[in-house]
Symmetry: C2
Subunit: 535 residues, 2 copies
């Protein structure tokens, strides 16, 4: 029987809090560094030697994972239990990449068959676009594919597209160039449109509800530009939406591909939301490999032992750092330029999933939940915010990611070593520097050390490895949500802003009152100060 | 007489800590929202109505600013005092945009004349590139300008280039397209080089010392590609460097423009580091307007009264939030797509300047210094990490930035309002939602409120306004550094990683020992796991 209870009701958590904390500098031996590795899927490896946990703490974290029944809850979720309690929905992003347990049936529909069916439909569409059977309204082969979407319809697919853009060129799979339009600020869309030839551009409009304000505003803008260029807009746009949305089966789109309420935006890169653009740009086989890598990592995440399950170990170390050591943030540092927007995806994935203050049954919590997540690629970050990470007054645990092979470039030697060797040297040096520190007579040049990190490393970043990275963090966030006993799958926190924005928009566009004197005062003050300047 | 002392030695700080905290929901009245505005330079305005400070707290913050002699210290700095104590250097980024006080002379050199002289030299160079008098080695006019630099030689100039790219097109000033290469990962450089025609590309190599590892590695790569394309690399690269660097006056560059040790990387957008590429891409008059806006804001920052000095008010509110309320992070939220990389610049500016644990005289501090800074443009962030900001267990103070006019686009109506109106509605609605919250019977749909913000708003984002934004945050960070009594102008925290990276590189490229058994163990473990995969 699965039992849902708060973290502070767990005996194993009480024990964990009483356990003496470790000094990382003393813990770290060459043997530990050689040993504390867990094999991941698709040839990746996970190292937790630089995390502030000894054998006893790992045992207690295992006990906590067992007491909170994390694997059982994951299996329930995969089998179609209503784990998104507030919205009364199943959570099926795993199923979009492969089945982990029992068949999931909803209203007589086998859900695996639904996701696979849509996938095969957009694979066929992608092939037709790529080989020129589907062409633009003036008969040109499409050369650009532009996703219009925001939030999860933008961040994950964009991070994945950038991560594979060089790889796809190197492998000869890059056929169309992917672009993204997300912000309601029209300077976003017009910038993209100023750089592409509309007569050879295909747009992928992504909105589950078909009512997302930003996405519809951008569609209006794009349709106006297509029309002004003498093109038939209806033959330049496909929709990715739910079957019940106004966009579904609408003759104003070339085609529609379906998603449903059981895959949340931030988990949707594995669905048509990510699949359509990646299949069109880099080929269906590339997306299939991405799904395969993610599915392999999902299978590995079913393993109950922390020491054999990197996503689970990573999750539990994060719990220890957040709820025992009290650290409020974590930095993601990919030593790989292709992962330049992966931290932005993780920011949504983690902060939108676990930035919650009430339990899944609505009880206010008395402990910390999801941390702040931020990051930039290394070595760039070293020349930016690492100063604070090394010598600031707060400790920020670090998640390093690295690869040993370039995607696009033959390696280039300068001063006796290659660029890739320099990159990897910096990665390992930073892990050591953060953990070990350095004494110095000059306090300004001293490093306290004791700043922990973990590492995900692989030989090459291709679609399979990228799938593993997506799965790893999704499952980490899911496990942490189970530990905190929260619902990681809704986002009620975005609603109030939406409601007030609607009221503010009435006030700004029609001069009405918003119905709130303070919001009215703010609008009046802003307009007064800016109109003054423009006149 | 100016006195340097720690924050916890200030009587006014002791008083501030004892003062009752405010409930923002009760503090916020329409009158407060109408009144608590400070005019900024170049038509911008700063609103602090949504900050958690009442009249008494503002008075006490004024007393603290006075007790720590912030304006006196700023004047000292502007007049050429050795404010970068550890490195025994003056701090002269303000002077690069205009003189604020006494002439600054160093070794018989008037420093204002030095900065102006270099500026006029690169203005002339930029004009010659723009009108085709300086051409590529095969006689083509240059169409692309690519900056090679990292850290401050990348983040600020890149943020500024993106911020003005649409504006420059709209104003007919966009002549060359700016690009940036920073990461030592060769997948960065090769990606940029795959998108441009090398025969019409000019490179700006930026390294103060002329020895930055990443920048030299990228130069090697770029030179190899230029040569392979049959071009004379020496006629495609200009250097921005110090007079004593190996790059200075070197015949392998078209020209060199000089910077010096008195402007740190993160403050260097106002120098040749930002000036060369912006002048070439968008014209010297654009860079001149940027400097003018920054200088106007620098003058305003000399004002001793918080209520008339937005950078000072912003700094002191930040101190209150960090050292009294205890919040560890702050988010920057520009509702303007052109500012998409401005948060990354601020991340370096703030975290590298104030992520320190010892006082300017080397004493360990017992209070918190610089916060974590992160952010993404609105409305995108709303669909990403705002869930945590609204309903997470920690409070994160927010810095909103907004503009009322598009840079590039005519505004586009959909559903009865324009995109820009939608953008501004979202901005004001979020400020209200964060502060006011909302009660709800369902705890999962309730918002506690009390989440504070400040706002910088203007009609249009052009180079003058951008200069104000750069100056505002530089001066805010400087004032906070003075309050904490730290040296905001060095970055000793990046040294240890550099030293260990050199040792690691020897180990990786030559198979030597790094001299540290733990670093060796990490290198061996990483290579073992990745070689296994690649074989």
């Amino acid at each position: 029987m699965v039992n849902f209870k708060e973290l502070d009701a767990c005996d194993s958590f009480a024990a964990l809090k009483k356990t003496p904390r470790m000094r990382l500098q003393e813990l770290l031996t060459p043997e530990r560094i050689a040993d504390l590795w867990i094999p991941h899927a698709a040839g990746l490896s996970y190292c937790y030697a630089f995390a502030p946990v000894d054998d006893l703490i790992v045992e207690q974290l295992q006990a906590l994972a067992d007491e909170q029944q994390l694997i059982e809850k994951y299996r329930m979720l995969a089998d179609g239990a209503i784990m998104n309690t507030g919205e009364r929905r199943m959570v099926l992003h795993h199923l979009a990449r492969g089945r982990l347990g029992a068949p999931v049936v909803w209203n007589g529909q086998d859900m695996e068959a639904f996701y696979t069916g849509e996938k095969l439909r957009f694979y066929e569409f992608a092939e037709k676009v790529r080989d020129g059977r589907i062409r633009s309204s003036v008969g040109k082969p499409f050369a650009q594919v532009v996703q219009i979407g925001i939030g999860g319809s933008d961040l994950g697919p964009r991070a994945a597209s950038i991560a594979l853009s060089r790889w796809a060129i190197a492998k000869g799979r890059a056929k169309l160039t992917p672009w993204f339009i997300s912000n309601v600020d029209p300077d976003d869309a017009d910038w993209v449109l100023s750089r592409i030839d509309l007569s050879e551009s295909l747009f992928v409009l992504v909105s589950k509800s078909g009512t997302t304000q930003e996405t519809l505003a951008n569609e209006t803008l794009v349709r106006a530009r297509l029309k002004a260029a003498g093109l038939d807009a209806d033959r330049h746009i496909v929709a990715v939406t739910s079957k019940s949305s106004p966009l579904a089966g609408n003759p104003h789109y070339l085609d529609s591909f379906f998603i449903d309420d059981f895959i949340g935006g931030r988990y949707s890169t594995s669905s048509a939301v990510g699949g359509v653009i990646i299949s069109i740009a880099y080929g269906p086989e590339t997306f299939e490999e991405f799904l395969h890598g993610a599915h392999e990592a999902d299978i590995l995440a079913l393993e109950p032992s922390l020491k054999r399950n990197p996503a689970l170990m990573d999750a539990m170390i994060g719990i220890y750092e957040r709820n025992v050591l009290g650290w409020p943030a974590t930095a993601v540092l990919p030593y790989a330029e292709p992962l330049s927007r992966f931290p932005a995806h993780l920011q949504q994935l983690d902060m939108e999933s676990n930035g919650k203050s009430v339990s899944r049954s609505g009880r206010p919590l008395s402990y910390s939940t999801g941390p702040i997540v931020f990051g930039e690629p290394g070595t760039n970050g070293q020349h930016s915010f690492y100063q604070l990470l090394h010598q600031g007054t707060d400790i920020v645990p670090l998640q390093f990611i690295g690869f040993l092979t370039n995607q696009l470039s033959p390696d280039m030697n300068s001063e006796g070593s290659s660029s890739r060797q320099k990159l990897v040297s910096n990665l390992v040096a930073q892990m050591a520097a953060f953990a070990l520190g350095k004494e110095d007579e000059n306090p300004n040049k001293a490093f306290a050390g004791g700043r922990p990190s973990t590492l995900l490393v692989g030989d090459e970043l291709g679609p399979e490895q990228l799938g593993v990275l997506f799965s790893h963090f999704e499952n980490k966030v899911m496990f942490q949500g189970f530990v905190w006993n929260i619902n990681s799958f809704d986002q009620e926190g975005v609603q109030l802003g939406k409601v007030l924005a609607k009221k503010a928009l009435g006030a700004i566009s029609k001069g009405e009152s918003s119905g709130d004197a303070r919001l009215d005062a703010l609008i009046a003050a802003v307009l007064e100060r800016t109109r003054g300047e423009s006149s």
